[in-house]
């Protein structure tokens, strides 16, 4: 596709349920990122995949959060036993290796509301 695609665009779930958020990066992009943006706050780094290297999971807030990516394709962010504080926009982004720095392209986000 032309850009980073995320699904679902909106998700309302009950506290305690598990959710999966999907990201389709731009074709050929080796790097994929997940960020979280809570209402009124900035972007919080969650996890970063780069090719076949081990992912950088340093931003995951708890062990309820996990993410997978197969090769250089789709990624899934899973939140288990959701809590109300997990309500946020989850942004996915991808980038390609360039010689002029790191331009990343964002999806429109998945709005998660935990009730």
């Amino acid at each position: 596709g032309a850009g980073v695609s995320q699904s679902p665009s909106n998700k309302v779930t009950e506290k305690g349920k598990d959710v999966e958020l999907r990201c389709d990066p731009i074709s050929g992009h080796t790097a994929l990122y997940w960020y979280r943006q809570r209402l009124g706050q900035g972007l919080e780094f969650l996890i970063y995949f780069q090719g076949n290297s081990a992912p950088d999971k340093s931003g995951l807030p708890s062990d309820r959060f996990s993410a997978e990516r197969t090769g250089e394709s789709v990624s899934t962010l899973t939140i288990q036993r959701t809590q109300q504080e997990d309500s946020a926009v989850y942004l996915c982004a991808s980038s390609s290796r360039t010689g002029n720095g790191n331009t990343i392209y964002f999806g429109e986000g998945s709005w998660l509301t935990v009730v």
Binding site: R97, T98, N100, G101, N102, I104
Partner: protein, 111 residues
């Protein structure tokens, strides 16, 4: 540790006034610095990056390694500049690496 600080959550100016959005960073190596912008109901997008030394939509930003700053400036603000602005840092030159963002500054340009 990598850190990006944007001290202002909100900056309100009148149309035609100069704008400076502050960004300070902490990084021990040679950083790449960026400004990203999010207009209302649009996705986050790159505005400019320091290695390009370019002016986009009248905005410029100079990397000051001595002050570890990368402030975003525009001499005359326009109403369409109203948006959320994020400063970001990447740790390695010439290689893809994760970006660390500041908390953002909401720029509101009043008519």
């Amino acid at each position: 540790a990598q850190r990006v600080t944007q001290p202002e959550k909100l900056l309100s100016v009148f149309k035609g006034a100069p704008v400076e959005l502050k960004c300070n960073y902490s990084y021990s190596g040679s950083p790449e610095l960026f400004w990203y912008v999010q207009y209302s109901r649009q996705r986050l997008q790159l505005l400019l990056r320091h290695i390009s030394r370019e002016s986009i939509k009248g905005f410029t930003a100079d990397l000051n390694k001595g002050e570890t700053s990368f402030h975003l400036k525009k001499p005359f603000a326009q109403e369409e500049d109203s948006a959320m602005y994020y400063c970001a840092l990447s740790g390695r030159r010439g290689a893809t690496n994760k970006l660390i963002f500041g908390t953002g500054t909401l720029l509101a340009v009043q008519p």
